[in-house]
Every structure is written in structure tokens, then in C-alpha cells.
């Protein structure tokens, strides 16, 4: 069978770190995602972390759980943690987010522009 697992693409080094999840993500990549996010949040120069789900084909509950825990850690450090999920994005990801009401525990915005605007308007700005 084809390898359907995804990639984590990280843009770091500035006040806003961006982690793009491409392809499918579940338990296999969750720990790697958690490590990357923790590293970004530990960086004193990081003001915000943005998780970009624009090119994400699948996530499951453990991944959403990891994002929720990261949100709590970011809040505790007075940093922004923002998830980008376009309204025209992958329907299976949006379906999961709607069913579990993920927007009640995650800050979800529809575009990277919105995320960057949100990241610049608060803590550390």
C-alpha cells in the first residue's frame, strides 16, 4: 500500500513559528508534532505558534488532543497558539473539528492572513 503519512514543515527563527501539517497525521506523527511545538513555545523569542492545516488530508483525535494541550501551554506562557483551517479546506478535517466542537478549545481561523494578524495583536507584540 502507498505510504499516506504526512510531513511536518516548520518555519521558525522569528517571533511567529509556523508548523504546516501536510498529508495524514495520527499517533505516528503526534509525538513529533508535540516536540516541535514544545521547542517553539520554549523559545523566548517566539510570540506565537501557528498550526497550518490547509494541506492536511487527515487528523484524528490524538492529534487534536495534542493541539489542545499545546494551546493550554501557550496560554500559560502568554503566547498565541492558532490553528488555520480554511473553510474550503479538507472536508474530513473540518468534519472532525465540527463534531467534537474543536473550536471551543482551539483558536481556529480560516486563513494564514487571519492567523498572522491575530499573532501580531496580542501577547509579545
Amino acid at each position: 500500500m502507498d505510504d499516506t503519512y504526512g510531513q511536518l514543515v516548520v518555519q521558525a527563527g522569528g517571533p511567529v513559528g509556523v508548523v504546516s501539517l501536510r498529508g495524514e497525521h495520527d499517533h505516528v506523527s503526534r509525538s513529533q508534532l508535540e516536540g516541535i511545538v514544545e521547542t517553539l513555545l520554549d523559545d523566548v523569542s517566539t510570540r506565537a505558534v501557528i498550526i497550518d492545516l490547509t494541506d492536511t488530508d487527515f487528523v484524528n483525535l490524538p492529534v487534536v488532543g495534542a493541539l489542545a494541550r499545546a494551546t493550554e501551554r501557550a496560554n500559560g506562557r502568554d503566547k498565541h497558539f492558532i490553528v488555520v483551517l480554511p473553510e474550503a479546506g479538507r472536508s474530513i478535517v473540518r468534519r472532525l473539528f465540527e463534531l467534537i466542537e474543536a473550536d471551543t478549545v482551539l483558536r481556529v481561523v480560516p486563513s494564514m492572513e487571519d492567523a498572522l494578524a491575530a499573532a501580531g495583536g496580542g501577547a509579545g507584540a
Binding site: E24, F58, P62
Partner: protein
């Protein structure tokens, strides 16, 4: 006339196998010519059932950590049976397991949970083909 399916996978209860399960479900959706939204619900539900097995069914030192996934059509529905030989998936045992079972219930038309018993736990997930 709608096609019929009857497939079974036996896999290690390992996170790396979840992608194979999703591929199997997508193949069934394609075979049955289901709308993408219906296939997506099946993918999410069956992945979650298998993820529960991976995360909660077996003690780390269990000698045979396996899961079975069977899919078959019957009457006007497609039925997925996810089973294991491990310890129970009990509501309240883990917040993750409880949320996962509620998610499966929300995605499917009917969910049956059998066990735990000597043969482990079995989740039977029904999806109507006349949605």
C-alpha cells in the same frame, strides 16, 4: 445495482497500521461509489475504533497485540467490525477512549459494543447506504 464488499484485515495493534485501515475504508467507499462525505465519516469512525484498540486495548507487555477489521455489506448498510483480544475499552477508563466512542456514535447510524470477554472487545459500526 450497488456492489457488495466483504473484506478483512488482521494487523498489529500499532499506530503505524492505522494508515492501512484508512486506505481499506476509502477503497470500500470507492467500490460502493459512496459520496465523499459518507466515506469520510466511515474513515473517521473506523480509524477511531482502531486507534482505541492501539491506545487502550492492550497492556504494553501483552504477547499478541493485534486488531481485526472486517467490513461487509448487508441489506442496506455497510458494517465494520473492529475487534481485539485485549482488555476492555471502558468508558471512563480513559478520557480519550470515552470521547472516541462518542465520536463513533455521532458518525455512524448504530454502534454496538460487545465485551470485554475472553475474546476481547468487539465494536460493530453500522452505516446506512440510504442516507
Amino acid at each position: 445495482m450497488r456492489r457488495e464488499v466483504d473484506m478483512q484485515l488482521t494487523l498489529a495493534a500499532d499506530p503505524a497500521e492505522l494508515g492501512k485501515v484508512r486506505q481499506m475504508v476509502r477503497a470500500i467507499g470507492s467500490t460502493l461509489r459512496l459520496p465523499a462525505a459518507e466515506t469520510n465519516d466511515m474513515v473517521l469512525a473506523v480509524d477511531e475504533a482502531c486507534a482505541n484498540v492501539v491506545a487502550h486495548a492492550y497492556e504494553p507487555d501483552h504477547p499478541e497485540r493485534i486488531m481485526h477489521v472486517r467490513a461487509h455489506t448487508q441489506a442496506d448498510e455497510v458494517v465494520f467490525v473492529v475487534s481485539d483480544n485485549g482488555s476492555p475499552i471502558v468508558e471512563g477508563k480513559s478520557p480519550g477512549a470515552g470521547l472516541g466512542l462518542r465520536l463513533i456514535e455521532g458518525l455512524s447510524d448504530q454502534l454496538e459494543i460487545e465485551g470485554p470477554g475472553e475474546d476481547g472487545t468487539r465494536l460493530t459500526i453500522h452505516f446506512s447506504l440510504e442516507r
